[in-house]
Amino acid sequence: MLRLPSSLARSAALAIGATLAASQAFAQPVDTARIQAGDANDWLTYHGSYRSYHYSPLEQINTNNVSNLSVAWIHIPGRSTRGLQSTPVVADGVLYYTGSYSRTFALNGATGEVIWSYIPELDEALISRQTHSPYNRGVAIGDGKVYVGTMDGRLIALDMKTGKPAWDTKLVDSAKLTVGFTGAPLYAKGTVIIGAQGGEWPGRGPIFGVDAATGAKKWEFDTVAGTDEAMKTWGNDSWRTGGGGGWMPGTYDADTNTIWWGTANPAPLYDWSGADFKTQGARPGDNLYTSSVIGLDADTGKLKFYHQELPHDTWDFDSAVGEFLMLDRDGQKLVVHPNKSGYIFVYDRNAGLKNVWRITQNSNFVKDIDPKTGELIGRRDFAAGKQSEPLCPHISGGVSWNSGAYNPKTGLYYKLGQEWCMTLTVSKTTPITAPQVQLNIGADFKIAPPPSGEIYGHLDARDPVTGAKKWEVRFPEPPLASVLSTGGDLVFVPDSRGTLHAYNAETGAELWNHADGTGHQGGIVSYAVNGKQYIAVTAGFGGMASDDYAPTFGGVYKSMPRDDGALIVYSLK
């Protein structure tokens, strides 16, 4: 990868970045081509680009000067129930992000001034009956609009300049299914794609493609038994309460016009089938297309290819999490995708498996996964009753739903791993669907330390294809937020205690840190306005995994708010 001298990069950034007023007047609209091309000053889609690197090429902030990084401005969105979990996007000096309850903001990226805000009216009686709620993971932009999902099953489009609603489309009968949308949508080719929650919530876990101009639904793909072939993998009509879903944004491969998406786990989470899961238990069969990566035609939503990372997942290790790194390596076009278990899958651009490697150190739900075939070796299937050995990793996963980062200059993938386990007593359960769908777990469980000793988290710097580890930084409690890497040779990690760290991307040496006031569990991006580079991070704890922190770790987590958060933006003085 060509390394630009910093002076050239800075002048390039200055040349591209105009004054804020001018850029709003003369900027090209955000469309698929512009997202595809990328621009160092912007962050045009959730994962940074369609390549999902969570990387900014900007070099103004670098290893030589990051110790001078300080707060430029802060925005407090309000009503941050369950904390702030979103990742901002930025175009032409305007930052767009969401808080809980799908509160949506457009801010001046240089000053933090609110340009517009939109607070949707939601069915709050319904929300009070939900669990994985009311947080929101962010927006998509394109076709002159900002797109946000809601917990009551709608996708809303707002005019990018004014924040006024352009359309508001109901997609999911959340009053009946209980679930809605927490994930950010994806914009590609005039279509807005968003996936419903599912997993432990019985349902069929649809993914939708919606016309960006009109809000009309173009297509819908059921991750549970969405084809005749898949229907055969659900015995006893268990597809009716299958779970599934695709609750985080995937990405778009323009070369093949394909939407890549990760699907969630089936319900109940823990099956009592024992080894004969193909014919016994709550949902006999492989349960397609749960815990899979799928490729959908961007125009029709038809399934083109898939790989089921965990057939008959009985551990709640979704494939819905994380990023799809689009890499070129030795003439091969590859896709790297983390599964929640902590196994990282490497594919070609048709989901043909190329390699599998593991980031977690404590893992016993399978003995291994064959790196050539993807076969699960030595899988732990459960009979009903108390399990004699704790299950590792814990239900919060070997990796979280947040994203790692790939730096094309170092060639390294910076990814957080989580080391924790759980005691487990599996029970037969009956799916509850009336008057409203309820969780179907299938077990009583409790968090437990790993066999290696204490619970901990670690940031690894790895070769994304082989998994070879270059360096590792450990944290006493697993960080849950996304990671950012930059052209300034930096890796930023927002941790769970509330500290934002900057590391040397080559060596892992810590170069700077700053206390953000509360734990992090959302996104972090970088952008530039008028030639000045910013780092924007959301702080605010209280999501599902963080719920365990106060009782498990005590300390600062005992007083940490679960209903507060802020967007904090840094720059050099």
Binding site: R129, S427, T429, G442, F445
Partner: protein, 118 residues
């Protein structure tokens, strides 16, 4: 959007609730079991493994996402209120899902919780 059901709708809702939760009778549940009689007691043990256990670890015996329920100092009224109305961002409201008799069963289960013998 209607926030409060009319009285006849509420009655229908309550009836369907009882039928739905009759599925959680004391007998072990299978995925396609026919609904048990409407007055069958609520199997709270199974309810925890189905839904409550998401937050209330180890059948309610340990603190996790939610507080420990075993040996709780909270009154019956507090527990009833919490089950019906939930707590914003922490616990869902189950007031439309359980009737008073079913909530009594849940409270009785909580009061009877003992440490794991195994």
């Amino acid at each position: 959007m209607t926030r409060h059901a009319s009285s006849s709708a509420a009655l229908a809702l309550a009836a369907s609730t009882i039928v739905a939760f009759a599925q959680l009778s004391i007998k072990p549940a299978l995925a396609q079991q026919a609904a048990a009689p409407a007055d069958a007691p609520l199997d709270v043990h199974e309810l925890f493994a189905t839904t409550c256990g998401w937050c209330h670890s180890d059948g309610g015996r340990a603190a996790g996402k939610g507080p420990q329920l075993m040996d709780t100092a909270r009154s019956d009224d507090f527990i009833r209120n919490r089950i019906k109305n939930g707590k914003e961002g922490a616990m869902p409201a189950f007031g439309q899902v359980f009737n008073d008799s079913q909530i009594d069963s849940i409270i009785a289960y909580i009061r009877g919780l003992k440490p794991d013998q195994g």
